[in-house]
Symmetry: C2
Subunit: 111 residues, 2 copies
DNA sequence: GTGACATACCTATGTATCTTAGGTATAAAT
DNA sequence: ATTTATACCTAAGATACATAGGTATGTCAC
């Protein structure tokens, strides 16, 4: 049984945001950074992350640079201009969503 | 193509919250009230709502009373004590989720 | 030196939670 | 008379994950 997370639907936005604020990163690094930043609340699974990165790259929202560290490979991803536009768009949707949730769960009384 | 919403995963919590704050309601009424409260941002589809109501009832989180209005039927749902516990539990998860998202997208600088 | 764990990449399958798209029927509005 | 709103329902399809595997390199404790 898969245990769905509340972050469902937000992972792509989170990746775009992270690459914008923190600069180029590689996949594994992203999983760790997110875990750190959220004090372990959000652990992006590799099974979710890698397909997201590949999709964003295919959409030209990210570019990749492959680097060798010893005998291992790292694929560094960087956000493009198109990706930045996409990020802003998704951020706007997220803001509205958050505001609406606030309204539903913590309504400001409207007299 | 189905257009996924950011509210995915929150609909059950929203229904529980609504039945707690606004008292007993019937399905169609819930869809309208949510649309109203969110200024149209969130339109819970009947195809999503009715299965949720049936599931919550099966879990004893809701009770039903059927009423006749003219020749039509209304099924009024009310939250149970177990449902209230579930609501509180889901609310706590939601709060943490929202706080984490805030942290990711609007980080308070940590010196 | 070997066993465990971390790093670093990947994909295939299963599944929860929806959206879409239908259906039935009554009531109100134009 | 036709359209729209009310009020219930379910089946099929889509999405975005989680789960669960796989490969390989590097590090650390014992």
């Amino acid at each position: 049984m898969s245990q769905p997370s509340l972050y469902r639907g937000n992972l792509t936005a989170i990746v775009l945001q992270l690459l914008e604020t923190d600069g180029r990163m590689y996949g594994y690094e992203i999983t760790q950074k997110v875990k750190d930043k959220t004090n372990g609340s959000l652990q992006i699974k590799e099974g979710a992350l890698y397909p997201i990165l590949h999709k964003l790259e295919a959409e030209n929202f990210l570019t990749v640079e492959v680097e060798k560290v010893g005998k291992r490979i790292r694929k560094y991803y960087k956000i493009t201009e198109a990706g930045e536009k996409e990020r802003i768009s998704q951020l706007a949707a997220l803001k509205e969503y958050m505001a609406t949730m606030e309204q539903l769960f913590n309504p400001k009384l409207s007299y």
